[in-house]
Structures are given as structure tokens and as C-alpha cells.
């Protein structure tokens, strides 16, 4: 790892003042530290967000819950305030030691195309709180490792609306524990359905609109369409594009059946 200056931020204002240029934010660091060890980045300074008090809590609201950006996967998995589907998703990330350190803000800011959290954000229609303002999940995720975050901006929290039904099904890539394909399905009290897919597309997390349309009329695993087109799906040694496309349909059915 190339050396860098270490800056411990104690507030969001503190953090954003220290960011910009070649400075980079670090939250739990469970992705960033291995990346820096591989010398895939050379920040001039790392601004540590893990001690920012205003980003550390889980706040239950009226019909929603807000999770601070610095809240760990473990804390989300143990919380009685977050939707059960989100707690279960958090409990399935990495391994216990990683969950004790990794954070929701870091995951959402990084937008790894195989990460779990982006599918929960998109699959529930979450609001992403950033230091530059609030962004709807539909507008926030803009492709592989690409988000609406501007330079020097950080994710300060995520607000999830409470669904009537929701479930996340993950086909685990056994070496990394990332999703080979993960599907988050939800239905709100007004009947609105979302199906968000991670791990599959070269464009990162996306909504599978054909399945949403079918499920809006009849929320049943029987109506989930067959595999979508394999065009634009990720192909690697763990699975071909066609295999991933097939898994999208399978995991969607499982998620609907488990709701």
C-alpha cells in the first residue's frame, strides 16, 4: 500500500472539508483496504468516517427507518427497527469479522456490481442521504462502481420505507461471499412492486421491469417471467452471462415465494 495521511473525521462537515482532490473517504475499509494493498489506488489522504457520531445510529421513523452511513452490517443485522428483509441481507454479507467492521455507507458509496446493499436500496425505493443532499435510489445507482455522488461527497445514511412484503435471495459466489446473483423483491402497502437485481449486470444493480409488471398484477412466484436476455450480463469463470440471466428468474421466484 502506498502511504497516505490519515484524517479522523468527527462530523460530516469535518469529513467533507478534508475531502476533495486526491483525498478519499474510508468507512469500514473492508473493500478499500484490500484495494489499496493491491496498489489500485493512491489517495493522498484517507478520511476515516467510522467515528462520525451523526452517522452512527439507526432511527425508526413513521413508516420508514434511517440507517446512518457508519452503521455496521452486524448492527443492522441485529436491529429490530429495520425491515426483516434488510436485517437478513446484512447478516449474509461476508463473514462475522467483516460484518463487525463493514458499513452500509461504504457499500452504497462503492456500488460494487455484486454487493448486496444496492439491491435493497433499489428494491425498496430507498432515499440515499449524501453530504450533497438526498437522492432517490432510482437516480443514485448509475452503473458499475458509479453513483450520483459528486467529488468530495459522502453517503451519510439511507432511509428505507417499510414494505408490506420483502425478501432478498442471494446465490453466493462461494469464494468471495458476494452475490453471484442476488434479487431483492418488495411490495408496498399500495401494491407497488420492485424487483432489484445485483451481481448480474455489467451496468451494476438494476430493476427487472418485466418481473415488476407481472408481479404487480399477481404477486405470485408462478408469474415471474423466464430468464431475461443475457445481453449485458457479467460473464466470468464463476458463471456465464446465460447462467446469470437464468439465475435472475430463479432467485426472483424464490424471493417472491419467501415473502
Amino acid at each position: 500500500m502506498y502511504n497516505f495521511d490519515y484524517v479522523k473525521a468527527s462530523s460530516v462537515a469535518d469529513a467533507t472539508a478534508a475531502l476533495g482532490g486526491d483525498a478519499q473517504a474510508i468507512s469500514g475499509g473492508q473493500t478499500l483496504i484490500p484495494t489499496l494493498k493491491a496498489r489500485l489506488g493512491q489517495p493522498s489522504s484517507l478520511v476515516d468516517l467510522s467515528g462520525v457520531a451523526e452517522m452512527s445510529g439507526i432511527t425508526a421513523g413513521d413508516g420508514s427507518v434511517t440507517i446512518g452511513g457508519a452503521v455496521t452490517h452486524h448492527a443492522v443485522s441485529e436491529s429490530g427497527d429495520v425491515p426483516a428483509s434488510v436485517a437478513a441481507l446484512a447478516a449474509g454479507i461476508g463473514d462475522p469479522a467483516v460484518r463487525h467492521r463493514g458499513t452500509i455507507g461504504g457499500s452504497v458509496a462503492n456500488n460494487d456490481p455484486s454487493a448486496c446493499y444496492p439491491s435493497a436500496c433499489l428494491g425498496l425505493g430507498a432515499t440515499i442521504h449524501t453530504s450533497g443532499g438526498d437522492v432517490a435510489a432510482d437516480d443514485y445507482f448509475q452503473g458499475m462502481f458509479d453513483t450520483a455522488l459528486g467529488e468530495g461527497q459522502i453517503v451519510t445514511g439511507v432511509t428505507f420505507p417499510t414494505p408490506a412484503k420483502a425478501n432478498y435471495q442471494k446465490f453466493v459466489q462461494p469464494a468471495s461471499r458476494f452475490a453471484l446473483v442476488g434479487v431483492f423483491v418488495s411490495q408496498m402497502a399500495d401494491g407497488y412492486v420492485r424487483v432489484a437485481v445485483t451481481g448480474a449486470s455489467e451496468s451494476g444493480v438494476f430493476r427487472w421491469s418485466d418481473a415488476e409488471t407481472a408481479l404487480a398484477g399477481n404477486f405470485s412466484a408462478d408469474v415471474v417471467p423466464a430468464a431475461p436476455s443475457a445481453d449485458g450480463m457479467i460473464a466470468d469463470l464463476h458463471g456465464s452471462a446465460a447462467y446469470r440471466a437464468h439465475l435472475i428468474s430463479v432467485m426472483t421466484k424464490r424471493a417472491v415465494a419467501a415473502c
Binding site: 490519515y6 463473514d95 462475522p96
Partner: protein
């Protein structure tokens, strides 16, 4: 260079580190606590697991500066006060829970974390909790037996 201070195995320590110094490097190279091992150095294998403020964490995947002010427990803190093996360590010896021993510090620290949260884990719960700890010798069976034995011994000792 930042100065970090923390409590390691009950003792207050401090030292000057670089921004990039990992917690495991601070423990091993600055404090000479070489019981914590670096296996893969990519956050996969769990040989470097230590306890930070009550939670197991991979010390190769954490900056020393981020642990400033923390309460850290390492494998060196697992023995009894008289220097004899602690309950979990003794259970690993009794049940052949190690062969080459390289992964053992991480296994013991993860077991300690598990038993603090769940004093009577099932075999499935033990195996799930060891998801981030790799062992290439034992096939895990005797590690699981060791943790079951430690659980029984701790429960009997209460």
C-alpha cells in the same frame, strides 16, 4: 506521523505509526505480539482475527490509526493469569483442534467472540461463525469439537 494509543490485553500502549500501518503490523512489529498471524493479507483467511471493543475483526483489514483509543484483545490475552492455557486454548489442545497451527490464533479469537455472544452454540452455528476463518489442515471437524468442548467447560465452570 500519527501517534496511536490503545489498550491491548489490558495494558495501555502507544506508538507512532504511518497512515498505512495496519493494526496487525502495529501488534506484531511495534508491540512484538506475534501470536496474531498474517495469512492471506487480503481479508479472507481470518488468521489475523483479534477482538476490538468486543467485536472480532480482521486486523490485517483495519488501520492501526482507526483503532486509536480501542480496547484490543489478542491471542496473547487468552491465557489464564498464571500463564496456563485458557479454556478455549485447552479445548483446542485436548481435541486436536490444530495441526500446523497457523490459523489457530484466529480460530481461538473467533471462538471467543462466538461464545461471548452465544455460550451454547449448535454445531451449525459454530460452522457458520467460522465462515471467515480458513484452515487447510484439519477439515474443521476437530475445531468444531474444540469449540463445543470449550462451550461445555465454560458452562460447567459457571
Amino acid at each position: 506521523m500519527p501517534t496511536v494509543s490503545m489498550t491491548v490485553n489490558g495494558k495501555s500502549v502507544s506508538g507512532e505509526v504511518e497512515g498505512r500501518t495496519l493494526l496487525v503490523q502495529f501488534l506484531r512489529d511495534h508491540l512484538s505480539l506475534t501470536g496474531t498471524h498474517v495469512g492471506c493479507d487480503t481479508g479472507q483467511c481470518g488468521a489475523c482475527v483479534v477482538n476490538v471493543n468486543g467485536d472480532s475483526m480482521k486486523s490485517c483489514n483495519m488501520l492501526a490509526a482507526s483503532a486509536d483509543g480501542a480496547e484490543v484483545k489478542t491471542i496473547e490475552g487468552m491465557a489464564n493469569d498464571d500463564g496456563s492455557l485458557g479454556v478455549i486454548q485447552q479445548a483446542f489442545q485436548d481435541n486436536h483442534g490444530l495441526q500446523c497451527g497457523f490459523c489457530t490464533p484466529g480460530m481461538v479469537m473467533t471462538a471467543d467472540d462466538l461464545l461471548a455472544r452465544n455460550p451454547n452454540p449448535s454445531e451449525v452455528e459454530i460452522r457458520e461463525y467460522l465462515e471467515g476463518n480458513l484452515c487447510r489442515c484439519t477439515g474443521y471437524h476437530n475445531i468444531v469439537k474444540s469449540i463445543q468442548a470449550a462451550s461445555a467447560a465454560m458452562t460447567a465452570g459457571e
